[in-house]
């Protein structure tokens, strides 16, 4: 099997790795797409939906279910996109759940205490609050020379403690929020829920930026080899801080979306969702070690996780087992990633030796 023989799909694999520019553009796009992790997740997702719908047609075909299928993952999609950006740089952000709780409660409080504020202003404040919390993380990681795992573990505690102290045992009730804001939770535009469109817009914006803009692509470089990035002259610290600010801002937006969707916010909103976000990202093909993966995969991973949760009871598995299934998915994803990367490395070495 020589690297230049491109007749079969088998051999096209190393070809697209080694000499991508030699292949015709369309062929290259197709091969990359077919080999991509994102496609396999999409296929699994469609499979899950198909199985559930065959069992109970109302899973997909009632208007409510369609709306719920798109609406429920919206929050996790936002978190997964932010988390993916951070993980690509070889860090992790465990504080997003607490940030979500804090901004969700903040949103509710703003509506109650300042009823004259327009909805857009409240949304903006929520996002900015999340960004500020993310900035704290970014500064500590960037300047503190301490792994993000530890810093965000600490801020997880601190931010959650702040919400708990602020809210006490108070909870925001749906009746305290303005009608229009709550309506956002269920409003649809052209058959798609508004909140889902928001998540989609964010996904497209971030995905495009990561793929095309220099500051986006540098994140991949930093994640692949931080030392080399420093030596190469990349502004590592600035990019890291930006990544955490983005993660925090998206968590803030997710908090606002949470309030709109559920209407009730108690002080433990978002508890534990950070691990779901990391799971979604890992399943979605972003290597935990950084440097590869896309936000599209992360978003698909988020949708997959939430949909599995919904589909399980329909197939007859009590949804208690969902978490175990998620665990198996994560482990399989990581093992698969490792197997694939080892194989790829071997192929590259072989072809280098052959050349």
């Amino acid at each position: 099997m020589t690297p230049t023989d491109t007749t079969t799909h088998e051999e096209a694999a190393p070809e697209v790795l080694l000499h991508p520019s030699r292949m015709p553009r369309g062929r290259r796009w197709l091969t990359t797409l077919l080999r991509s992790r994102e496609l396999s997740i999409l296929l699994v997702l469609l499979l899950v939906i198909a199985v559930a719908t065959i069992k109970t047609p109302s899973f997909l075909f009632s208007s409510n279910s369609w709306r719920d299928l798109l609406l429920t993952p919206s929050i996790l999609i936002l978190l997964a996109v932010g988390q993916a950006v951070v993980i690509i740089t070889r860090n992790v952000d465990l504080s997003v759940g607490s940030v979500l709780g804090l901004t969700a409660y903040l949103t509710g409080r703003l509506f109650i205490d300042h009823p004259s504020l327009p909805i857009v202003a409240v949304v903006l404040i929520g996002v900015l609050a999340g960004a500020a919390l993310g900035l704290v993380n970014g500064l500590l990681v960037g300047f503190g020379r301490v792994p993000a795992l530890v810093i965000t573990l600490g801020t997880l505690y601190i931010y959650r403690g702040i919400v708990l102290t602020w809210a006490g045992s108070d909870r925001i009730n749906a009746s305290d929020l303005p009608r229009d804001f709550l309506a956002l939770g269920t409003k649809q535009v052209l058959g798609f829920p508004v909140l889902f469109l928001v998540a989609l817009a964010v996904l497209v914006a971030v995905g495009y930026h990561l793929h095309t803009a220099r500051s986006g692509r540098e994140l991949y470089a930093i994640g692949s080899d931080p030392d080399a990035a420093v030596l190469y002259g990349l502004r590592v610290r600035r990019r890291l801080i930006a990544a955490f600010v983005l993660s925090g801002a998206l968590a803030g937006l997710a908090g606002v979306v949470y309030t709109a969707r559920y209407g009730t916010v108690s002080s433990d909103a978002g508890s534990g969702i950070e691990l779901q976000a990391v799971a979604a990202v890992v399943v979605g093909g972003v290597a935990i070690f950084g440097g590869s993966g896309t936000v599209w995969g992360a978003a698909l991973g988020a949708v997959l996780l939430v949909t599995i949760n919904r589909a399980l009871p329909i197939v007859g598995i009590p949804d208690f087992w969902q978490q175990a299934l998620v665990g198996v998915l994560i482990l399989s994803a990581i093992v698969l990633d490792r197997v694939l990367s080892v194989r790829r490395a071997r192929q590259l070495i072989e072809s280098r030796d052959d050349a």
Binding site: T56, S58, F59, S62, S63, N64, S65, D68, T72, L164, G168, S169, D170, R171, N173, A174, S175, G185, T186, Y262, G263, T264, S266, S267, D268, A269, R310, P313, I314, D319
Partner: protein, 349 residues
């Protein structure tokens, strides 16, 4: 395994034992001077301290009941405190019971998340001199001095079964959205509902029991899942105020509004808008404020020695009047009350 030369291993051991010993040392001297290790009568001379420990905090039902308790405590001149966990899991209440025991509280009023799990802690507290009154959700009778029940469990179960079967025409599928799977009161009511259905409503089928854990988001999502997995569902009973409010909120924006009949135990304030917009027609409850009020007075009566909790004891509960202790050391508040569109505006809790 080779052993390296010793390097302060003795210091390691000494330090651990030292710090433990130091705290024990300090404790021993204080123990001798801190006075009698409390029987109830010791605190009767001073102010009575009553602590309320609901299933979880942030629950409007318990906010109301504990406020009633506070009113009672202020009436008879004691000190009031409210503590509780964020989530209603069985072991979460243990730490608060331990703290109450440490603080030599006169009376602990608790709504139990599990009939057995907190027993050891409660008995430890009673040994330290605290009187234990359960309300709303009982424990094993051996771990408490008195149980204040809002109504008979049979009455509570029956009113909900009656409401739902009447509304769906006594035939069809129903489901139950409960709180947490271990809660004593929930399981008691669910069992009685099942018995009632089997005996009196053979055409009504109970297809599922799901647990919302008294968490709003979980209850909301579980309602959505229920409707998705059982397309022919006609009725939902939710014997928990958090559950019924979340389910009503979901139903009122879904296309099943008016088609699936929701009832259960709810607070008037939370359910007002849903009764007005037709999502819910009728639901039941009692006055949680009165329940807390009664429980506080019961705790006071135990703590100052007026009663011991055995059957036949009588005590006065402030403005509610006189009460007699029944079998198994249970005190009953009254009967459940049915709320609907006509009378809901008269209440504010």
């Amino acid at each position: 395994m080779k052993l390296l030369s010793t390097r302060g291993g003795a210091l390691v051991a000494a330090a651990i034992i030292g710090s433990l010993g130091l705290s024990a040392c300090g404790n021993a001297t204080d123990d001798a001077t801190s006075g009698s290790s409390g029987s109830g009568s010791a605190s009767a001379a001073t102010k009575l301290s009553i602590t309320f420990l609901p299933k979880n905090l942030g629950n409007p039902y318990f906010d109301t009941s504990d406020a009633g308790g506070k009113k009672a405590v202020e009436e008879f001149g004691g000190t009031y405190a409210e503590v509780g966990p964020q989530t209603g899991s069985p072991d979460a209440q243990v730490q608060y019971i331990n703290t109450a025991a440490q603080q030599r509280t006169s009376g602990l009023v608790v709504s139990a998340n599990d009939p057995k799990a907190i027993c050891d802690a409660l008995n430890e507290a009673r040994k330290a001199g605290t009187k234990v009154v359960t309300f709303d959700s009982d424990t094993d009778p051996t771990c408490r001095d008195l149980f204040v029940n809002q109504a008979t469990s049979e009455g509570i179960a029956k009113v909900q079964t009656d409401l739902v079967t009447k509304a769906i025409g006594d035939t069809g599928e129903i489901a139950i959205l409960s709180a947490s799977a271990n809660a004593t009161n929930q399981n008691a009511w669910i069992d009685l509902i099942k018995k009632d259905l089997a005996a009196n409503h053979p055409n009504v089928k109970l297809v599922d029991v799901v647990y919302g854990n008294d968490d709003d988001q979980t209850s909301f999502d579980k309602t959505a899942a229920l409707l998705q997995s059982h397309p022919n569902l006609k009725g939902i009973i939710s014997p928990t105020t958090v559950g019924i409010a979340a389910a009503a909120r979901y139903l009122s924006t879904s296309d099943k509004k008016g088609k699936v009949y929701l009832t259960g135990l709810g607070t008037p304030n939370q359910m007002k808008e849903f009764v007005k917009d037709g999502t819910v027609k009728e639901f039941a409850l009692w006055n949680p404020g009165d329940l807390g009020y009664l429980a506080a007075f019961a705790a006071k009566a135990l703590a100052d020695g007026t009663i011991t909790g055995k059957e036949g004891d009588k005590f006065t509960a402030g403005s509610l009047g006189d009460y007699t202790v029944g079998a198994d050391s249970v005190v009953l508040l009254g009967d459940p009350f049915v709320f609907n569109a006509e009378n809901i505006d008269q209440f504010n809790f």
